[in-house]
Symmetry: C2
Subunit: 214 residues, 2 copies
């Protein structure tokens, strides 16, 4: 398999973790998001993914896009170890936490969104950073509230097994730290983060350990 990705992309980071957890080797193909005006806009990459978004996973002649769809695909084609529990209600719970990051936080802090704020709405650097932190801090607080209320939390987001929820939470925390977001209001999430980072699958997938890290 080939993973078209970028060290700093948190959606790419999710897929790297999932591949590592499943013990699947892959070729790392760099798509540099800022060099050459953004290599994701190259016609050759757009032919692979018209969205001009990473990650893209190429599995033989099949091209897969959208990190959560890729991870569900890996789960279906390589079920061990499972990243989703067996019970339908618990699966929905795990997916809802993952979507709480993937739909409520991350899209607002994408590079192209931040660029729009600055270039078209004239936001200052300070306003841009405040925007970033607002959605991260509010989004994580909502997830924290759920983790506290649900009482299903253990070493990880759901009990003592790593799931898709952890796979998506951890890269978001890396982003939050990079942009100096407040994190002292989400101690349960930070506990889960610490436990995940003890695992080589998470540690090896982090931005600074990638071949294109700057």
């Amino acid at each position: 398999m080939k993973l078209y990705n970028y060290f700093r992309s948190s959606a790419s980071f999710r897929v790297r973790i999932a591949l590592n957890l499943k013990g699947l080797p892959y070729e790392y193909v760099v798509v540099h998001l800022t060099k050459d005006g953004g290599q994701q806009f190259d016609p050759s990459f757009r032919a692979l993914n018209p969205d001009a978004l990473i990650p893209v996973l190429a599995d033989d002649d099949r091209t897969l896009t959208q990190s959560l769809a890729i991870i569900e695909y890996l789960e279906e084609t390589h079920p061990e170890p499972p990243l989703l529990p067996r019970d339908a209600v618990e699966r929905a719970y795990v997916r809802a936490i993952a979507l709480g990051v993937a739909c409520e936080i991350h899209p607002l802090n994408n590079l192209r969104v931040l660029r729009y704020l600055v270039r078209k709405l004239g936001a200052s650097e300070e306003q841009k950073d405040a925007w970033y932190r607002h959605w991260v801090e509010e989004g994580l607080a909502a997830i924290e509230a759920r983790l506290v209320a649900e009482k299903r939390t253990g070493r990880y987001a759901l009990g003592d097994h790593v799931t898709l929820a952890d796979v998506v939470l951890v890269p978001q925390i890396f982003n939050a730290m990079r942009f100096d977001c407040r994190l002292d209001h989400v101690p349960v999430i930070m506990g889960i983060f610490g436990h995940c980072m003890e695992l080589p699958a998470f540690d090896d997938a982090q931005p600074s350990r990638q071949p294109d890290a700057e």
Copy 2:
């Protein structure tokens, strides 16, 4: 089952379509997003969902959040008729289209995001509308490009059976029309939209047919 929702919420609209397609009756519970400062912020609703987001599906004593997680749950607990194909690659394709709306378009046009633009960044009504249209038009163009390139498109997004991709696309088109977005650049999507709207499951779920429609 009880669906906590709002006629105009497109994430709610997705779940209404899925429930209708599966032939599952449900009680419609209104959570008015603008009345009383937003009923989603009521402590009673926040106890149900700390995200203060709709839809929420209550199935007996189980509370499910995030529209895509809810639909995957319905798919797992009520598999007929299927909203995901059997083949793993095709499932990933359908999910990627759904996520192309749910992660790349819809989060940017949420009520709370538009409010932030106006209240905190001082965006004018015109700038707010331009923002809305930008993400809808660009996001739909990317999906259109994929539908054209993949050649898997039929009467619906994947061949001649309704899938999750259609369930998520249709409410986004309703939003696009409400905000006068350009749609002449996405003829394949509009064809799919037309075919979907011929089905009672889609038609009955549309905003104007809901009990709280204004």
